[in-house]
Structures are given as C-alpha cells and as structure tokens.
C-alpha cells in the first residue's frame, strides 16, 4: 500500500489531537507529531493550559504508543510577539480581541505550517472539529464539523486556499462522544481535560490582572455616562469592560445597567438599560474570503459574531476586498469590536472579518 503522504499533526496531549493522530496512522499516513512550546508568564509554566510539562508528557506517551516520532517546537518568542502583545495592544485600544484567531493565522498555519512543509510533510493536521472539501480543480472549501456543538470552523475562518489544500481535520466527521470512544478503542493514554474557553497563556489568572501586569496604560480611569451624557460613575479603564457586560460595573442603580459602548477617544464608558443595548449593523475589516475571491454583490448569509454566539441571518455588502458592512434583521446585543464576524452558507464557511469600533 502506498502511503497517502507525510502529515505533521499538531499535538497537545489532549484527546482530540491524540485521536486525530491515531486516525491518520490508521489511514496509512506517515505521521509526525509536533507540539508547540508557547509562551507563558515566567514562573507560571505549570498553569499554561496547552503546553504544560504534563501535557507534553502526555503527547509524548501518545506518540510512543502510536509509534510516531514526536518533536517539540519552540514558538515562545513569536507567540509572545504576535499573539500576546497583540492581545494586550488590542485591549489597550479598547477592543476585545480573540487571540486564537491570531494564533491560528500566524502560529499554527504560519510558523508550524512552514516547519511542517520544511521537513518534507505534504500536510498538516490538527484536532479541530471542521471539514475541508475539494470542489473542483485546486479549489477548497471549509465546512462545519458534523458535530455542530463542537464545530470550530469559526476560529479557522482565517485560512486560505493554499493552507486548506494541505490541511487535514480528521475529527470533522465525528462527534465528540465518538472521538472519546475512539480514544478508548485506540487505547490512548489521554486525560480528559476541562474544556475551558480561557486563553492558554492566562493559566488560571483573570485577564484583567494579566493586562494590568503587561500594559502601563491599561488602568486608565474615566467617566461612566448614560446615553444622555449624564455622568453616573467612574470606570477603571475601558479594557476591563466588554460590550453587554452587566456585572462588575459597580453602579448604584435601581435598574440593571449594561455596557453599551466604549468611547476610546474620550475614555468614556457608556451604559444603559437592556432596551438600549445592541445594534443591527456592523463593519468588519481584515476580511478573509476563504475562496480567495470577494463577492461582487451584497448577499445573505448566516453570521456568527462570537465563537459561541447563536447564528443569525444578515445581509453582507462588500465595501472593499477586505471590508464589509453587515445589516441584521433585528438588534443583536453582543456585537463586540475586536471579535470576528464569520459568514456561512449552509455548511460552508465563507470567511470572516474583525468587527470594528464605531
């Protein structure tokens, strides 16, 4: 039997990437495991969620069990520079970034992808829940995972044609519970970890503490105003608040107040009652069109404005190659600058962009 090729699997020691590796071995690929050593704050090595010594040990055991070579790749410097520093800077300019997108674009499908190709691999695989489908000669689509609960196409919308052509997502056709079963069948020594949505480099820390340690101008108190412009309190720094947030604003008010908006030019936090929360339109820029082509005309699509948000229908109007205007049928309460708006037609992820502040 001829091998379908050489694939580098990004391993984390968790059940998903371990089963992904096992499936590829079963399918006859020549498989090499790699694990990125990512940055963490000095002294908190054991708390990093994805590349602790424990996780590394686990990945090594899985690789040993599968009989595949396994290497750790040092990505601390580039991760710090591209992901962590961007995270801090984005908060400093009062938007709420999603560092996983930056990581996927620059670290996994940048730094690691290049290394995989450099060692002669034909493909890179990850344990993401998503699917890739070839549609005609040299054209590829990113599809949602079969398991819609676990679907991770949102964080993969940054991928481009050449990357998709060489990416494999072995778990896209399985549900999470099937993957757990497979881990059992393959007899893989993987520990079930809590599926936290926290960022890997924060460890168990709160992001606000992290920001305070890493940026001098994050703590920047200013006024809290209502929509009429009346001052009703003082905020600690816009970075510490998220659109739609209710708890922790520390205002004495007879009715619950929500963060409506952040005005960075005047360092002002705007709050108001639930009815005033939300918008029915947004502008997204840095748009990636997975097909490589920006649509010429406005079109309807299903849109996710956060990783775990309900999808809603909206009308997308391209303003330029990398910028779109999106109009929704009704107001959405959680449109958050810095997060991605990702577009779908049925099962196909078309791409997405970063929501801009007003």
């Amino acid at each position: 039997m001829t091998s379908p090729g050489h694939v580098v699997v990004a391993m984390s020691g968790g059940v998903d990437s371990s089963v992904a590796a096992a499936l590829l071995v079963q399918q006859g690929f020549q498989v090499t495991g790699m694990m990125l050593r990512l940055w963490n704050e000095p002294g908190s090595e054991a708390e990093n969620r994805c590349c602790t010594p424990d996780a590394m040990q686990m990945a090594r055991r899985v690789a040993g069990k599968l009989g595949i070579p396994f290497y750790t790749i040092d990505a601390q410097e580039i991760f710090k520079q591209t992901v962590v520093d961007t995270f801090v800077n984005e908060y400093a300019r009062t938007v709420t970034p999603n560092p996983c997108l930056v990581c996927n674009r620059h670290i996994r499908w940048g730094f690691l992808f290049q290394r995989a190709l450099a060692i002669g691999a034909n493909f890179m695989a990850t344990g993401h829940y998503a699917r890739v489908q070839q549609v005609g000669q040299g054209s590829w689509q990113l599809l949602r995972a079969i398991d819609h609960q676990k679907d991770q196409s949102y964080v993969l919308h940054v991928l481009q044609q050449d990357q998709l052509a060489q990416s494999i997502f072995p778990l896209g056709e399985y549900t999470k519970s099937q993957v757990r079963q497979l881990a059992h069948q393959f007899n893989l020594p993987v520990a079930e970890r809590s599926e936290s949505q926290d960022l890997c480099f924060l460890g168990n820390d709160d992001y606000r503490n992290f920001l305070t340690r890493h940026s001098e101008n994050i703590q920047n108190p200013g006024p809290i105003l209502d929509r009429s412009g009346k001052k009703i309190g003082e905020h600690q720094g816009l970075a510490f608040y998220t659109i739609g947030q209710r708890k922790g604003i520390r205002l004495a008010s007879p009715i619950p107040l929500y963060v409506l908006d952040k005005d960075s030019t005047r360092n002002t936090l705007i709050v108001g009652p639930l009815e005033e929360l939300g918008k029915d339109e947004l502008i997204a820029s840095e748009v990636n069109w997975i097909s490589g082509k920006c649509p010429e005309h406005p079109f309807e699509a299903n849109i996710k404005i956060r990783y775990k948000a309900q999808e809603v229908t909206g009308s997308i109007t391209p303003l330029s190659d990398q910028k779109v205007h999106i109009k929704f049928r009704s107001k959405l309460r959680d449109i958050t600058p810095g997060q991605a708006a990702v577009f779908y037609t049925d099962q196909v992820c078309l791409g997405g962009g970063i929501i801009q502040p007003d």
Binding site: M56, T72, I73, D74
Partner: protein
C-alpha cells in the same frame, strides 16, 4: 528500531556489550541470593560482589575497600559531594565548596542544594574558553575553609579533558578533599586513582557498554564521608541497600573490557573523529568547534553553528536517521544555551545552535561519510527555519 538509523550519541548512553550481558544473566535467577545472607545462596552472591569489587579496584588502581557501588554516576556524585561536604564541616568546620562552571548537573545542582539548604558557600572556579580549568588559577581559592573541590574529568557537552592529576596534586598539597566526575572519562581515559591524585571519583557503567542503573564511587582510604542513604549498612556503611549483584557484575565486566580494549578503541575512533571535525569545520560555514581541539575525549565532537536552533537541528537530523545531541536542546521545547556553553563565553546566536556527535566502538567510516554528506544540507535547512 529502523536499521537505516545511525546512532551518534554514545555520550548519552551505550548499548550493553553482549559479553557483559552474558556475565550478568546468571545472577538474575540462578545465583540470586542476597549477599548479606548467611547461607550458601548469600555466600555465592557475596563472592560475585567481592569479585566484582576487586575487578573495579584493579581498574581504578585502588584497594577493594575503596570501591563503593551505587545506582549510577549521578548517585556517586551526590554521595561524594554531600557526603564529603557534610563530613568536612563536622570534622573541621569547613563551609566552602569549589566546583567548575562546566560540571554535570549531578554535581552543580547538588552543590547548589548544599548552598541553598545547608548554608555552604559554593564558588565557581574559572575556566578558559576551551572549558578547561587551569590549575595555577585555582590556587588562590584553596583556603582552609574549603570542604571539597569537585572538577569534572572530561566534560559531557564539550569533551574537554581537565588536568586532574595536577589539580589533585594542588589539593593534596593544601590538604583539601578532591572529587572528580569521571562518568564520561571512564570509557576512554585512565581512571588510575593513584596517578590522578583524587580522593573521590565517580563512574557510571552505561557510558562504557555496561548496563544503566549501576555506578561506583572511589573513596580513598581515610576520607570521611557521611552516607546519603542509610539502612542495612552495606558498602561499608556508606551506601545501604541490597546489592544489585547482576548489575554490579555487569559494571565490573564492562570496565574490565573498556580498559583491556581502550587502546584499540581509541585507535579506531580518534582518526574518525578528527576526520569528522575537519570536514565539518571545512564544509559548513559559520561553524565552530566547542571545547579543546586536542585535549578532548577521543570519541567526542561538539560544535556550535551560528543562526541555528539546536532543537530544530536535532529534529531534522532524527528525521534523516541520525541520533545526535545538543547542549541547547530540551525535550520540553524551551531551548536555552546550557551553563557549559555560556561558560565558554559564546554569544547566544552561536550557543543556541550546538550539536554534539559522539562515536562508539561500532561506528564505521561509511556511517560518518553518510552523516557528513547530509549534514551541510540539514544545517542549511535549520538556518532557513530561523529565517
């Protein structure tokens, strides 16, 4: 194991010589007694133990009573340092430990613990840029407060051999206890403890075609050490624990063979090693030998390559079928230049890209040629990955 793979990491460990294994096997099940027992089973085991001790004593040119069996080279280093430091403090109130900056962690981390937890002062002696201790430079440090001096015989990372006999003579002149870690050296250099003028000397069997999990410490008669491990009082009360007879037999046999075949091994390896060093320095730009060009272990070659990441290099080499090692690589993927490389005064840009190639008795010229034909390309690829 893939037969097309080539192992060039004999300083990490060696395979057990089949002759050694043959000697060991009967002691697992046929002659299995506890050497401390009174009965005939025990006596047979004890006979094997004492025979092995005599063999090792012969190899070290010392008395059998000066040989202590331990579980490995690291344990020997621990016992020597902690044991002698604590004894010297008890006997004469000495509180200073002198080590070189190119010690194995078994020595340097033990010394650090003695400083951190037991109040000793640990002083790092100067080395030159070849990683060698210059005897006359250490004289000012040899004061009455020194409990022990520990200097590695031949360094594992850079292969440099230290002038142990000269340092030993100086220490003896000043009445100071002197230990050397001879774990790497024992495979290829004389460990004649009389000539080396050492008080304590550590070896581990797996570096010279013996099994892993067994080592020995030479403790010169009259030198006081306090045991690290107490119990049934085996090994003259210095290292309690039931004797590991098959491994002790294996260590003795391996040491015997290493010494009997030393000249032949060196004659085989030295020209190969020199050929390897010559071609690498000639054919690979921005390459530099680390350690001493001549005063180094005969099977040992070590380099730094500018603009290379040691981890990446080892990965690429492994994928090409070559098993080597690096002083900056680390299995958890957080490569940092080792203390040893930094002690040589190398810049980070160089020190990150270290490579150690260590040959063994089975290494052939064809293997070295095969390796040399591929290395320049692999280094170029590794450099490309660092952009």
């Amino acid at each position: 194991m893939n037969s097309s793979k080539i192992y060039l990491d004999y300083a990490a460990t060696t395979p057990v010589d089949p002759r050694v294994l043959d000697q060991m096997l009967p002691y697992f099940n046929h002659i299995f007694g506890n050497s401390s027992s009174i009965h005939s089973y025990g006596q047979q085991a004890e006979a094997a133990l004492e025979n092995a001790r005599e063999q090792v004593a012969h190899g070290m040119n010392c008395l059998p009573g000066e040989v202590i069996f331990t579980s490995c080279g690291s344990e020997s280093d621990n016992l020597a340092l902690r044991g002698a430091a604590l004894a010297a403090r008890k006997l004469r109130g000495a509180n200073t430990i002198l080590i070189s900056p190119v010690e194995h962690h078994a020595v340097s981390h033990t010394a650090r613990q003695l400083a951190d937890l037991f109040g000793f002062t640990c002083i790092s002696l100067p080395v030159n840029q070849l990683g060698a201790v210059e005897p006359e430079k250490i004289i000012p440090y040899l004061t009455s407060d020194v409990a022990i001096v520990s200097i590695i015989y031949a360094n594992n990372e850079i292969g440099t051999i230290n002038p142990i006999a000269e340092i030993g003579a100086l220490c003896r002149e000043h009445g100071i206890i002197f230990h050397t870690d001879a774990v790497q050296a024992a495979a290829y250099l004389s460990i004649d403890t009389d000539q080396l003028k050492v008080d304590l000397l550590s070896i581990g069997a797996h570096k010279f075609y013996g099994p892993k999990g067994i080592g020995a410490l030479y403790v010169r008669k009259g030198i006081s050490i306090i045991p690290n491990q107490t119990g049934g009082g085996q090994e003259f009360g210095l290292r309690s624990g039931t004797h590991n007879i098959p491994y002790i037999v294996g260590l003795a046999e391996a040491l015997n063979i290493a010494q009997a075949e030393r000249v032949a091994r060196v004659e085989h390896l030295l020209p190969l090693r020199n050929y390897l060093v010559g071609r690498i320095l000639e054919e690979i730009p921005d390459s530099q030998l680390t350690g001493h060009p001549q005063q180094r272990l005969p099977n040992h070659a070590s380099f730094v390559f500018r603009g290379v990441n040691g981890n990446t290099l080892l990965m690429l080499l492994d994928m090409a079928g070559f098993a080597c090692s690096s002083g900056s690589a680390c299995k958890t993927g957080s490569p940092e230049p080792s203390d040893v490389l930094l002690a040589l005064g190398l810049e980070r840009d160089w020190a990150m890209g270290s490579l150690r190639i260590t040959l063994g008795t089975g290494t052939t010229p064809a293997e070295i040629d095969h390796f040399l034909n591929q290395l320049p390309q692999i280094i170029a690829e590794a450099r490309k990955m660092e952009r």
